[in-house]
């Protein structure tokens, strides 16, 4: 082959081969390892509350360990004193991609320190 290229062009070509190779390898790996029955697996965790002028801000981390994206995920976070619900907040996340996490926050009027925080997914759509 009589390719006429200078060092820069060969470098770009080499880097391109490496990048494309890596991308294809990752995609093939992902395609092979992803499960047959693809569904989202959402997990909700909360972090420590901070005092804000509006109330108590509780950061919420929604993780999707599944192999499919969850769309319009609705999360409910409740402050429970024993079996009684003291206060609750809801949030909606447009997309939680597979193997990814999204961060959000909810604001309570009451100090969450009074109660146990129970966070769970109520619903999501499969895209």
């Amino acid at each position: 082959m009589k390719a006429k290229k200078n060092a820069l062009e060969w470098t770009v070509f080499g880097a391109s081969v490496a990048v494309i190779g890596a991308v294809v390898a990752l995609l093939v790996h992902a395609a092979v390892t992803s499960q047959r029955d693809k569904r989202p697996a959402l997990r909700v965790a909360t972090r420590e509350a901070t005092r804000e002028p509006e109330g108590y801000l509780v950061p919420v981390i929604v993780s999707n360990d599944g192999d499919a994206t969850a769309e319009q995920a609705r999360i409910r976070i409740a402050l429970m004193a024993g079996s009684e619900e003291v206060e609750a907040a809801e949030l909606m996340i447009a997309f939680v991609p597979r193997k990814s996490q999204r961060e959000a926050s909810v604001v309570f009027r009451r100090d969450p320190a009074c109660c146990a925080i129970v966070a769970r997914t109520i619903a999501y759509e499969k895209p």
Partner: protein, 289 residues
């Protein structure tokens, strides 16, 4: 200008680093020119993490084929062998991936907190269109004389069928890809009656035919020359068929056929077929020179 004139005489010499940089620069500008609307579109980011890895692989393969075809028939080096064409296509795909990763990072769509699956999806989907833009940019945005001997004019005079199909396909992809991922295509398809959609199809044909044969469009005389009415009919049918095929491929990739009945699928193809027809007709004239 001076350097370009000097280059024209030495087509078979190794290009200087400055020349290569200019060529990459043009490709970079072209890539961004065609892909920025998509890089800035929410639906495309979403598609990229909804799409399964196997579909992303198909997209990469399709993009590479398109690059091979375009570089072979309308690329910078008209005397290039398939080997050189393949090398150019690999470079453009690699640079497309790099460019899309950098821009997505700068606009805050990927970062250290993004999972690898999500980042990979976004980069690959955006890279496809950046790479095609890269190829078109480096070939078409340059001043014209570099790498083009006067002698090759004869080979270009009579456009072959394969060449026209590939270039019309590139035009359709570049133009239709900007609207294909949007929700609006599905909305129009679902809410518009069949008579109006037939009207839209007729308008697509009229516009494509006008561009190719009767508007004195730049390049029409050379790339869409006809000898009779039959030639016009064949050329137009081919252009619209390519537009519809590209439109179907794009819609499938963006997941617009998933869980949708055949009727709405067909309607969507016609809706997206309008910009695709315009792109494929204009592409046949403007994307080769």
């Amino acid at each position: 200008m001076m350097t370009d004139a000097a280059d024209a005489g030495s087509r078979h010499a190794i290009p200087s680093t400055a020349d290569s940089l200019r060529e990459y620069g043009r490709g970079f500008a072209g890539g961004l020119l065609f892909s920025l609307p998509l890089l800035y579109t929410m639906e495309v980011w979403w598609v990229s993490f909804i799409a399964q890895p196997s579909r992303l692989l198909v997209l990469l393969a399709f993009t590479f084929l398109l690059l091979l075809g375009y570089n072979r028939y309308a690329g910078l080096r008209h005397d290039a062998s398939w080997g050189e064409v393949a090398i150019d296509s690999v470079e453009e795909l690699g640079l497309g991936i790099g460019t899309s990763a950098v821009v997505l990072y700068l606009i805050g769509r990927i970062g250290p907190a993004t999972s690898s699956a999500e980042a990979l999806g976004k980069v690959v989907v955006e890279a496809a269109i950046v790479a095609v833009g890269f190829s078109v940019g480096s070939a078409q945005l340059g001043s014209r004389d570099r790498d083009r001997g006067k002698g090759s004019e004869d080979d270009e005079g009579r456009p072959t069928l394969a060449r026209q199909v590939v270039i019309a396909g590139c035009g359709a992809v570049l133009f239709a890809a900007n609207v294909a991922p949007t929700e609006e295509i599905l909305m129009i398809a679902a809410e518009t009656g069949p008579v109006r959609l037939l009207g839209l199809a007729a308008l697509s044909l009229v516009v494509a035919g006008g561009v190719l044969y009767s508007m004195d469009f730049k390049g029409a005389e050379r790339f869409a020359a006809v000898e009779g009415k039959l030639d016009v009919a064949i050329g137009l049918a081919m252009t619209y068929a390519i537009a519809l095929a590209v439109s179907a491929i794009l819609l499938w990739f963006f997941g617009r056929f998933d869980g949708v009945g055949p009727d709405v699928c067909a309607r969507q193809v016609v809706v997206l077929g309008f910009p695709a027809a315009l792109g494929s007709a204009a592409g046949r004239l403007l994307l080769q020179s």
